[in-house]
């Protein structure tokens, strides 16, 4: 059985994943209509630099552009920015927008991403920041210019990167993390400990194994953070970096399966003519048959392209999305790169370089099989280990002579 090809594709979400879908469709020869809806008023921009070059002031916002403004005209799309999707009628195939407008489709791609999680009770409290949008980053940058005592809640990528930048700008910084080390979840003890030492040497005060309970306020302004164990840390500014949650509320009641993201099959198809890509997509990993959702930049681009190709192939001929995830983090003079999924590894083996040199490659394994390769300042050589991650290679007991 063949189904008629799409003639009216609507993409909701105008960041990296949405861009990749739209460009992928055109590159693969799709000539039908494309409606592209984005909640933010900006043309698609890049988020990884928000906690790095934009926050430090090394870049201004125009450097974040993912494409030149003229490139969007060439794509021939009906691009509607500043338009928030609020509801989906999957039977009538219409999307309701916050301004009262409607958009139709025969094929829909959900690329609505995630939003920063917040600490309860901090909405509208002055001096409490999150870091997800360009406005968030500029607001935090402005706050850092006053050299506050910054308390960073969360030792993940965003928190660790922002702590490094804030120290570089001369702020006093305390990092509160519930793990044993900064980025301990992704890096494990050995590399996390090395990273923790680097932060400490740069003057960051680290509270490990600590849960932030609440933000303390004085006259509506953040003045500190109370930890779950009762201790308090004074603060002039607080950055909350405790993860993100998928933007799926607008799909409630539509019949599109949502839970931790849009629940897709292995091909990123959710049924009802609906596909998903990027941070919001939860799909069945073809290797494990487990649902996975990845909130990282390269995944957004890869999934967007995969969805474009699968849309044109049709659900019956669509191919499973299989990739080696890649993430990176820049802190001080360290470039940390990860291929694969390092979380939960039961074995870490340094195969090149050393912790002392802060220049190394480590293989992470689960039950004797390589699940990730992590590099610190060895970018080119690390790429050579990607194949072992892709193959889930057996970890060698003795390295070959």
């Amino acid at each position: 059985m063949t189904t008629p090809g799409p003639s009216r594709v609507t993409v909701v979400g105008a960041s990296a994943a949405g861009l990749s879908v739209v460009e992928g469709l055109r590159r693969e020869g799709y000539a039908g209509s494309i409606t592209w809806i984005g909640e933010e008023t900006h043309l698609p921009y890049d988020r990884p630099p928000l906690s790095k070059q934009l926050l430090s002031g090394a870049w201004e916002t125009d450097r974040l552009r993912l494409r030149d403004p003229g490139d969007f005209e060439a794509l021939g799309v009906d691009l509607r920015l500043g338009a928030r999707a609020v509801a989906l009628d999957a039977r009538k195939r219409t999307i309701a927008l916050a301004d009262g407008g409607l958009a139709g489709y025969d094929t829909l791609v959900v690329a609505t991403g995630t939003r920063a999680r917040r600490l309860p009770g901090t909405d509208g409290v002055a001096g409490v920041h999150v870091l997800r949008t360009v406005e968030d980053a500029l607001a935090l940058r402005e706050a850092l210019a006053g050299k506050p005592h910054l308390v960073v809640v969360g030792g993940g990528f965003v928190g660790a990167e922002a702590a490094a930048v804030a120290r570089g700008l001369g702020c006093e910084v305390t990092l509160v993390t519930d793990t044993a080390q900064p980025m301990g979840g992704a890096l494990g003890d050995e590399l996390g400990s090395m990273l923790g030492n680097v932060h400490t040497e740069h003057g960051v005060h680290i509270e490990t194994g600590a849960m932030a309970g609440q933000v303390l306020t004085d006259g509506g302004r953040a003045c500190g953070v109370r930890l779950a164990d009762g201790r308090t840390i004074a603060a002039d500014a607080v950055l909350v970096g405790i993860g993100a949650q998928p933007n799926v509320e607008w799909l409630a009641g539509s019949g599109v399966p949502v839970g931790n993201g849009v629940e897709c099959d292995a091909t990123l198809y959710a049924g009802f003519g609906v596909w998903a890509a990027g941070d919001v997509a939860s799909w069945l990993d073809p290797r494990t048959q487990e649902p996975v959702r990845i909130e990282h930049r390269t995944n957004a681009a890869e999934q967007g392209l995969a969805v474009a190709r699968n849309i044109l192939a049709g659900p019956e001929c669509a191919r499973p999305f299989d990739s080696v995830p890649y993430i990176w983090s820049d802190q001080y003079d360290l470039k940390i790169q990860i291929y694969g999924r390092s979380r939960g590894a039961d074995e870490v083996r340094i195969v090149e370089g050393s912790l002392t040199d802060r220049r190394l490659i480590a293989l992470y394994a689960t039950r004797g099989r390589v699940c990730a390769a992590v590099g610190v300042n060895m970018a080119r050589a690390l790429r050579g280990y990607r194949a072992q991650v892709a193959e889930a290679a057996v970890v060698e007991v003795e390295s070959a002579a």
């Binding site: 990296a16 990749s20 460009e23 992928g24 590159r27 890049d46 990884p48 450097r63 552009r65 993912l66 494409r67 930049r297 390269t298 681009a301 890869e302 392209l305 890649y326 990176w328 820049d330 470039k335 790169q337 220049r359 300042n377 060895m378 970018a379 080119r380 050589a381 690390l382 790429r383 990607r386």
Partner: protein
């Protein structure tokens, strides 16, 4: 096809090398892109377009 690169924005992900290994390489430590062939052969063009599409820092510009 003509390739231009904004080296200053490169984040060293190496996606370009995976997509078009005959056209791109990386520096050892920081992984910043090394352009081996600014004017790649016709059979490389699709790979280069793929590299430009997947580059997470959007630093590869392709002009026909």
């Amino acid at each position: 096809m003509n390739i231009s690169i904004d080296f200053d924005k490169c984040c060293g992900a190496g996606q370009c090398v995976l997509a078009a290994p005959d056209v791109f390489d990386q520096r050892d430590d920081d992984g910043v892109v090394v352009l081996l062939h600014p004017r790649p052969s016709a059979e490389q063009e699709e790979n280069v377009r793929q590299a430009a599409a997947l580059c997470p820092a959007a630093v590869i510009k392709v002009e026909q």
